[in-house]
Symmetry: C2
Subunit: 319 residues, 2 copies
């Protein structure tokens, strides 16, 4: 289990590679909630999501031999781009296994913008694992798991660490939970900084494995993965479950409508492009499941990568 010191060390290691993301506030949001809300905007992070922190922290600590052989991950999301960019910055070979059904724009970004080797496979968990395993066996790549990795977790925790260095006297911190890497890192950073600060994980009701896992005392899985928060569909690992069990005060579940309302507020009122997963933490704050009156609340806005092709296609018709 990573320690608070691991997060401090991670921050020193990665700070020259990442953006120190801004903390935004909104008079409207404070009036609406009766609280003081501090939005830690990881949508402004490199590759548009907090994932950059964990990827660069993990990859930069590989041995020379591992670095020479290169890294691999399977993802079509933010973690893929974070691994690709981290490898590029460190001059390491990266292979990303993606489902052949991935949007062309994501494949192109990973391949062309970040220079990774993209290997397409069938769109199934089994095909993804097999393809990845085969490449590891053949080339000796090191797998950079999106959350089941101590260094990825420590890196993810540096977002909350930065926030706590900047904003005094927080009472609560909210982060979304999918596989649990961000929430794990956030909880270690927060409780390490001041164990009185409460930490809340926010999860879509439709994929509430983390909520049920804490209730049952053992890892539960999702039967369906029907949520617009496409970054939060995965299950906890044993590692993230143990950390969350130890450090997180409560998991709050919210409806799809609550996710969308939070996202809409961030876009329309605060002028931030935030993806559905990234809006969940604010959705938890607004859910009225926790008494937040007069509290000072840190909210991790995890990312802002969302497909805007249709929106701009409609706009093009106007010109």
């Amino acid at each position: 289990m990573p320690t608070y010191q691991d997060i401090i060390d991670a921050y020193e290691r990665i700070k020259s590679f990442i953006n120190k993301t801004p903390v935004m506030t909104s008079r409207t949001l404070n009036e609406k909630t009766g609280a003081k809300i501090f939005l830690k905007c990881e949508n402004f992070q490199k590759v548009g999501a907090f994932k950059m922190r964990g990827a660069i922290n993990a990859i930069s600590q590989l041995s020379e031999e591992q670095k020479n052989k290169g890294v691999i991950t399977h993802s079509s999301g933010n973690h893929a781009q974070a691994v690709a960019l981290s490898a590029k910055l460190l001059d390491i070979h990266a292979t990303i296994v993606m489902p052949e059904t991935s949007p062309q724009v994501k494949i192109r970004a990973t391949r062309d913008t970040y220079g990774a080797n993209v290997v397409l496979c069938e769109n199934s968990v089994k095909a993804r694992h097999n393809t990845t395993e085969n490449l590891i066996n053949k080339y000796g790549y090191t797998l950079i798991h999106p959350y089941d990795n101590e260094n990825v977790i420590a890196g993810a925790g540096t977002a909350a660490y930065e926030l706590l260095q900047e904003i005094d006297d927080l009472n609560m911190v909210f982060a979304p939970v999918g596989g649990g890497g961000l929430l794990s890192g956030t909880s270690i950073a927060t409780k390490g900084f001041n164990s009185d600060i409460q930490v809340f994980g926010v999860e879509p009701k439709n994929v509430d494995d983390a909520y049920r896992s804490l209730q049952n005392g053992k890892i539960q899985t999702n039967k369906t993965i029907n949520s617009i928060a496409d970054g939060l569909l995965t299950n906890l690992s044993q590692r993230t479950f143990s950390i969350i069990r130890k450090h997180v005060d409560q998991i709050i579940t919210i409806s799809e409508k609550e996710i969308l309302n939070a996202m809409r507020f961030l876009w329309e009122r605060i002028k931030l492009v935030v993806e559905p997963s990234g809006a969940c933490s604010l959705g938890g704050v607004l859910s009225e499941k926790i008494n937040i009156k007069n509290k000072r609340i840190g909210v991790i806005i995890s990312g802002g990568n969302i497909d805007l092709s249709d929106f701009f296609k409609n706009y093009e018709k106007l010109i």
Copy 2:
């Protein structure tokens, strides 16, 4: 014509009422342009646009008698909301004349959120003017013109003033131009700070009255107003024309496609919700009409108010 000192005075007068908006940078944008770009994000200003600066500066300087009688303006855009909120903050009565065809959401925001008295009229320039004149004659309201007003111009200039205080050694500043209030204020602030800094106005090619006015040495009007940049459709006034003629180095015109591309870049890559008018200044920077290599460039992103109803209606179908 307002002076540089007027802008400094305006800043001291209004700074407690406005947001000190952040200056954003982007590695991707710098690499793409070969320049250092500093985005002054007035989409994060109160009411979502720089208009707040001019409105509060003008209204707060009215005489007690004028304040007691109240203010009026005709607009369905950002200026209307800025006048309404400024009046609310100063506890003054505000009347906003809006075309009856205005979107309900704008009417509601102006009336309910900002507490202004909304008077609807026919959607024509004549009806708008007559309705406003009648109300002024009847109630003694003071008209707060959206740009043809020295105090509005001085207030608008405080955005560039803030930017110049924060970012050293700028070589160029870009601002959009419609009626010319923002560009006038920006040019006075910039040349007053350092007359070596070049100031560029950016205008949609489809409504290029400012460009033609400078070419011809007298005010030209637009024959059609067919642009997605709905905040830039108006013509210069004699006042803004004189200022722009004196202080602005060049007007750059850009196509609708260039406006849309700049807006898309801001949304997708920088994660900022920016309206078409607000993206024009960056569109000018990206237009390759000016050699910007190795320059340090301030870019006023003027606002972020855009109707997202359709976007979110489509999203709701997914949940």
